[in-house]
Point group: C2
Chain length 494, copies 2
């Protein structure tokens, strides 16, 4: 069971975060990077005990957890490297010139202030207490208050202790990191409403994310909410590809749909293609393949109950055909795919709702116009996949231009499940997949969410932050009078 942190304690921790923010503002990017690498070390040092606890709390296989733990430490390191390189500092200097009115102007990014992070249940390491949101907020120079996910309380506590140990070892203020526990809706609302909180990061359901967004935008001083709320990640399969690869595509699709019992935000919940002989071969292989998938226990009872409920709602809709269904086992997500017509999919909004788990809808289109209509009607998505040959891309350029506007990541073949922690990753798409499509929650660019620029006008060099000093002691890339360089400024003393 998880203890509820009292309101009094929350207030105290937020006050500590406000004080820690003042400290963090005066740290350099190198100091923060050093801290982040130390957290990575600490996470790597956590041994079998962590994996055993997390496995018991989440039912996720040990191999997956081992990989996720390594990724989580790697995330801290890669964000640390980007922070130390000054990429998110975005230092810009415009020197005084006779024709300028304002003299010497220098701008760089500082942390926005204390951030509340809501951990997700489906990635207990990578998107939770010590996950990417926490790493990117601290990288930006923001204290973090984590609201632990109640589905893995012990895992959360171990991770929180690991971070706090680093805070202590560095002699930094304790308020840099706080661990809040509780299961009530009120705790989340209380944190989001608190006037000293400056941003919210969340990964989870649409209802949860949207509720926080509404609270945050109705505050007296509204704050940004970065909520990643999942999506149905459509796969558009085109004719030439389907003809030659119907069977391979069906295998790939089922593998992706059932990966991690379908508990991925990037799960490909919809498959759209033209009816015909190739389509029939796709369906036949799908039937065979899904029978090979062994039912696996889902993350926790709440997730399983929701999966069963939402799946039932979908199955009860008119004109849907259950084409495949594996055996059910108690608390295990049995992979299910239904088939429907384009007309039915377009007219029944229930079929466009995400069913979190191994559940897919195959939409049979009569004409190219059906595909176009579906593209037009589609809401914002984390990913869209184009299963196509080069010729298919040429034949469907208008459709693809429309789809580019509906997602954060556009795949040419392959399947969308999973992300890569690199600069070029975009994990965030138009509403309702996230509340702010302009930012990513995966990859070092996630740091950008928690910074804001401050401009210094005519400040004496000695009082400027290191990032903006003439000497450029941190040797970061800076834009000086419109040109990027990482040198120091040789100025005539005036």
């Amino acid at each position: 069971m998880m203890e509820e942190t009292s309101t009094q304690n929350i207030d105290k921790r937020i006050q500590m975060a406000v004080e820690a923010f003042r400290f963090l503002k005066n740290t350099t990017i190198n100091e923060r990077a050093e801290f982040m690498n130390a957290v990575a070390d600490q996470i790597e040092a956590l041994g079998e005990e962590l994996l055993t606890v997390t496995h018991a709390e989440t039912s996720l296989p040990l191999a997956r957890l081992t990989g996720e733990k390594a990724r989580t430490a790697g995330q801290w390191r890669s964000y640390a490297k980007a922070v130390a390189a000054g990429i998110y500092t975005e230092a810009r200097i415009d020197l005084a010139q006779p024709e300028k009115q304002k003299g010497d102007l220098r701008k760089y990014n500082v942390g926005i202030g204390p951030v509340v992070v809501f951990g997700a249940s489906n990635f207990p390491f990578a998107f939770s207490t010590a996950g990417g949101d926490t790493a990117s907020a601290i990288g930006a120079g923001c204290p973090v208050i984590i609201k632990a996910h109640p589905a893995h309380p012990q895992t959360s506590q171990i991770m929180a202790d690991a971070i706090s140990a680093v805070v202590k070892a560095f002699g930094w203020p304790e308020g840099i990191f706080s661990h809040i526990t509780g299961t009530s809706y009120e705790i989340g609302a209380y944190l989001t409403q608190h006037p000293d909180i400056r941003a919210i990061a969340f990964t989870g359901s649409f209802n949860g994310g949207k509720a926080l967004f509404d609270i945050a935008s109705r505050r007296e001083n509204p704050i940004p909410v970065f909520a990643e709320m999942g999506s149905i990640n459509p796969v558009f399969a085109f004719q030439n590809l389907l003809e030659t690869k119907a069977e391979a595509l069906a295998k790939e699709y089922i593998t992706s749909l059932t990966l991690g019992v379908g508990q991925f935000c990037t799960n490909p919940g919809v498959f759209i293609a033209l009816k015909g002989e190739s389509f029939n071969r796709f369906i036949n292989t799908l039937k065979e393949e899904i029978q090979k998938v062994a039912p696996v226990k889902m993350l926790h009872k709440g997730i399983f109950d929701n999966f069963e409920k939402n799946k039932s709602i979908a199955l009860e809709q008119p004109d849907v055909e259950i084409i495949v269904s594996a055996e059910t086992e108690s608390s295990s997500g049995n992979a299910t795919v239904i088939k429907t017509s384009a007309g039915n999919f377009l007219n029944n909004p229930v079929l466009s709702e995400e069913v979190f788990g191994p559940f897919g809808i195959v939409v049979a289109c009569e004409t190219d116009e059906d595909l176009m209509q579906i593209a037009r009607q589609l809401k914002g998505q984390l990913t869209i996949t184009i299963a196509a040959t080069h010729e298919d891309v040429r034949d469907n350029s208008t459709l693809i231009t429309i789809l580019k506007d509906k997602c954060g990541r556009l795949l040419f073949n392959g399947m969308p499940t999973g992300v890569e922690v690199v600069y070029s990753m975009q994990h965030g798409g138009p509403f309702p997949s996230t509340t702010d499509s302009r930012f990513t929650s995966v990859g070092p660019d996630a740091v950008k969410r928690f910074v804001r620029p401050v401009c210094f006008q005519n400040w004496p060099d000695e009082f400027l932050p290191d990032e903006l000093k003439n000497e450029n002691p941190l040797q970061i890339s800076r834009m000086v009078d419109g040109t990027v360089n990482s040198g120091s400024l040789k100025l005539q003393t005036t």
Copy 2:
């Protein structure tokens, strides 16, 4: 008089913008930059007629308008240069590697979609129809629907015609730029609620900006609002500086307070200092200086009426002393400064409200703790000025750390009125000075507001946008596997 654009016509223009957006998405940064430079040419070519019309509509002096017109054309050019350099493209490429799961990933920024711009009355060129918001949205690749400011309808029409002429000359879709006119609140609300609008830019009052923010965040698909709503731009004067420069500071302060009849968002509405002999000298010079300021006609009757009303409210507050007041002339903003104690300023929130016009409050502090309390209580500001010697900065480092968190631009001496159109400018501060402190509305970085990233996974080179092609035909800076370069990629064909 201004005609009200009908709802039907607005719908038609938004539909045209949606279509134009598809066209703009396929333009390169160079094509957009060329377009923007052509708009600059067109603005520069507008002669005496424009200035005469605008002078009649705004009462702004011809010299000021001549300067503002040059700045406005310059804005288009400087944003065009930044767009062409690919700064806001932020191209990031991570090549396929054996250890990567996802293969080849490439990300760049695209326009967010049709943007509605609400022009301001106080800068009829630079912050209005053809102002910085319009230039930055088009630079980002977004069609613009401008809601003309009713205070200068003819000016707005001339500027709109200039932009439309360029659209026509380029053979681009008409929907790239639309001019909506009207005085009703409903038109603004209608535009902000329209499902096809993707972002709002606004410069004006708190009430206006906040109303749009509320509408936008309560939409079914919420959208970002960049509202610059002004602030009181405090000047904190410290002891050592005040001792040696009381008289010079008073002159500077009055000049800045009355510049453009005080009709600047960066007008220094509050001056805070410790009581004493230097403070008295400051006040005495203030009294002399303000008598030299000739009353000047304000922008329009609405602004004047509001100035008179809000000034009266401030003057009616208990324990304020009207220390100086120039002669009143009909419709002219007579410069007014009142004096009050720190205790009164802290306890009466009315005194922290912006009075748009040449109106200032001088706050006399008893102790350093008063200054600290005022800093702590201060709401978000566009600018804060530290009038100080080096010694003063050293003596007040805690206070200055707090102030850094309350503004977008921090000045060391000098006065805040006016901005500089450069990369390092930050025109945007914590709420309520703007609705989103993470962005600026002045300088090329204003373009950032209207882009979002899209990631391409494993796309064939021929179908990638030029910005991401191996050859790098636009020769822009790109981050490739974590390292920035502007070369082309020599890849082995696989």
